[in-house]
């Protein structure tokens, strides 16, 4: 389809009233940090610690959160959540969290992607964004994307040191990962799945998880 490419590009240049940009002009554009070539305008956040601001954003969109002091506490917290929701102590767990003692907390865990048969999925967030209470999850062998969307209950482990103030800081960190910085998918998740497509009535759990619970580990 290279013919299509040249055709569209030629039409653009005709409309812009110029030919193709020279190598220097292109290099100058590539050297910019973005369209406005200045630091992004970052909204000022409400007062409080990043964890507090994050919690406010998350709760605004019907997410819930519990705070833990160590990663070891995660399985017991997940067990408590499942029991509290009247669910069997079973969960599909991301390989990144495989080494935790799930059996010790009484949880029958299956490690890896899900095909939809699991009520609860547990993943590890790469970053949390205080501004909006959002979680940033990267796809990869250690973190299957299906866990984020197919289970009814999505539980996400977030380490306090991975909390950033704005999404832009996550992009800067992603660039630092190097040439293959962008994984197949970056999921920025802000609350459980919802729809307002019937009479503009908000209903949680449209196609994705009906509830989202964050386990913030200090």
């Amino acid at each position: 389809m290279s013919g299509g490419r040249e055709q569209v590009l030629a039409a653009i240049r005709r409309s812009l009233g110029r030919g193709a940009l020279g190598a220097d002009a292109r290099a100058a554009l590539d050297a910019r940090s973005g369209a406005t070539d200045s630091a992004p305008l970052l909204p000022e956040l409400p007062k409080g610690t990043p964890a507090q601001v994050f919690r406010t954003g998350l709760e605004k969109v019907s997410g819930t959160m519990s705070e833990l002091t160590a990663l070891d506490e995660v399985p017991a917290a997940v067990a408590g959540y499942l029991a509290g929701h009247g669910l069997a102590l079973e969960a599909a767990v991301a390989p990144s969290l495989e080494t935790l003692d799930w059996a010790g907390a009484g949880i029958a865990s299956s490690v890896g992607p899900t095909r939809g048969g699991d009520y609860a999925g547990v993943s590890l967030a790469w970053r949390g964004v205080a501004e909006t209470g959002s979680l940033v999850l990267l796809s990869g062998p250690e973190n299957p994307t299906s866990l984020n969307f197919l289970p009814d209950h999505h539980l996400v482990v977030l380490r306090a040191q991975d909390l950033v103030l704005h999404l832009e800081q996550a992009w800067a960190a992603l660039r630092e990962r190097g040439a293959d910085g962008w994984p197949r998918t970056v999921n920025v998740i802000t609350g459980p799945s919802r729809t307002a497509d019937i009479e503009l009535t908000i209903q949680l759990g449209a196609h994705g998880p009906r509830s989202l619970h964050v386990l913030l580990v200090d």
């Binding site: 653009i12 292109r26 940090s33 994984p183 307002a196």
Partner: protein, 475 residues
């Protein structure tokens, strides 16, 4: 889709008389405006962000060839494939060919306005594929065999009773025979039916809210999670996107995201903002094996070169229609094509021609509300006026209207005669109206009064006369 915009007047009358539609529209009317206002008021930086957004879009459009090439090269580096479509026909053919080559049978789709614009569904169905829309609103209108009536909430014109009936008729084949009444149970039933479709689909097609040039990433914004299931479960993912969707960097996309959710639904951030770059990587346990992007021109390069370039800044938030009194009264279907409301009244004539859609720019009160709320400051009323001007120059309007305008021009360019005429008219009409102060009918203007409207009578003096009297009094 075949445009029906030539029948705008008839369709508007139907819409005004459709009681069910009026119930649905009244429900929607204030909801969106109030939610947007709250979200905007809570962000002091909103106006400054709008300025940034305008700058981002303008810069990208001025260098569109460069950023598209950069984007396409990055996609190819990540293992994806980019296809370029000059026309709607090209786009349909490319999508059908990819689906055929992959041996697909069942295709799931996330909501894509450009997909509606070029008619992807029709082409795929004609080619023998089963196509399932997965956004709940799109799914509902697909069952009803209707086009979307709003770009964010496509089934906003439907009541829950109508939707219950549609589900009842269409879900029987899945063994779901109970007639539903409540919203939660309807959402649940659709979730159940569509879950099986996601898992069985061979190809997933989504649109894109943004394309990031730097990394070759496509961004989709959803609340339901349907777009994610569509792009991560099937073995082929196709992205359909207009060429104006590209932005230089992820930071630029983030600025626009702060405006998009707030302007569309009053959300600070939509639930799922998903950035996809290429097919699954070595070692990945899920994700598609093939990743295709179809970049669609379909008239956009023409807009880039004329006075409608600013329209290419549009991020499809729907705020303009949510604040439009005309849209609020007649809904989206009356407009007769894919895009309704103010943005649709600009885009439709440009896409299907003024001969077909000349009525749309005329169905505007020029109140300016759409431009006030547009996150990327598109001067929609000015663009609509430009289209009216073009229509007049092309002699496309109805003859009585053109004659009327010509007469008006003559009077307004002869101010003495104009003033005399209006003075006589104002006095006569005031006398004729008598004490009631209003008219119920008038010769030659019968249609205006249809449906119970009346016309307040002039007070007997023209504005100019009152003004002059006051000025004299002041001296």
């Amino acid at each position: 889709m075949e445009p029906l915009s030539h029948a705008f007047k008839e369709r508007s009358v139907w819409a005004l008389q459709d009681e069910t539609l009026q119930v649905a529209l009244n429900r929607a009317k204030d909801g969106f405006a109030v939610k947007r206002a709250k979200a905007v008021d809570a962000l002091p930086e909103f106006e400054a962000l709008r300025d940034r957004a305008v700058a981002i879009k303008n810069h990208t459009l001025e260098n569109l060839d460069h950023y598209l090439e950069r984007y396409a090269d990055a996609v190819e580096r990540s293992g994806g494939k980019v296809h370029w479509a000059s026309s709607a026909e090209d786009a349909r053919r490319i999508v059908v060919d990819i689906c055929r080559a992959s041996g697909a049978r069942m295709i799931t789709k996330g909501k894509s306005m450009v997909g509606e614009e070029v008619g992807v569904n029709g082409a795929l169905e004609e080619a023998g594929f089963e196509v399932v829309e997965t956004d709940l609103g799109e799914y509902i209108i697909q069952l009803a065999h209707e086009p979307p009536s709003h770009i964010i909430v496509p089934a906003v014109h439907k009541t829950r009773g109508q939707i219950a009936e549609l589900f009842h008729q269409n879900h029987e084949k899945y063994g779901l025979t109970r007639k539903l009444a409540e919203v939660p149970e309807m959402v649940n039933e659709a979730r159940q039916v569509l879950r099986d479709k996601y898992l069985a689909a061979d190809v997933g097609i989504t649109g894109a809210n943004f394309l990031i040039a730097e990394s070759g990433t496509s961004v989709i914004v959803t609340n339901e999670g349907n777009g994610d299931l569509t792009c991560s479960l099937p073995k082929v993912h196709i992205v359909t996107a207009g060429i104006e969707k590209v932005v230089p960097s992820a930071e630029d996309a983030s600025t626009l995201l702060r405006l998009l959710g707030r302007s569309a639904t009053g959300q600070d951030m939509t639930t799922y903002t998903t950035f996809t770059t290429g097919p699954k990587r070595p070692g990945d346990t899920d994700g598609p094996e093939e990743y295709h992007v179809v970049l669609i021109d379909n008239g956009r390069t023409t807009m880039l070169g004329d006075q409608f370039r600013e329209m290419l800044r549009c991020i499809r938030c729907g705020a303009c229609m949510n604040h439009c009194p005309v849209y609020g009264a007649i809904g989206g279907h009356a407009y007769g094509w894919v895009y309704p409301g103010p943005m649709g009244s600009v885009l439709t004539p440009l896409a299907v021609g003024l001969k077909e859609a000349g009525n749309l720019p005329n169905a505007c009160t020029l109140n300016g509300h759409c431009a006030e709320v547009c996150p990327v400051r598109i001067p929609l009323p000015d663009l609509l006026r430009t289209l009216r001007h073009r229509e007049y120059q092309l002699r496309l309007g109805l003859k009585p209207m053109r004659w009327g305008l010509a007469a008006w021009v003559w009077f307004t360019t002869h101010p003495r005669i104009y003033r005399l005429g209006t003075r006589v008219q104002a006095r006569m009409l005031a006398l004729l109206a008598g004490r009631k102060g209003r008219f119920r009918r008038m010769p030659l203007a019968g249609s205006w009064f249809r449906g119970g409207r009346d016309l307040p009578a002039p007070q007997g003096e023209t504005f100019m006369a009152v003004w002059q009297r006051r000025q004299r009094g002041r001296k």
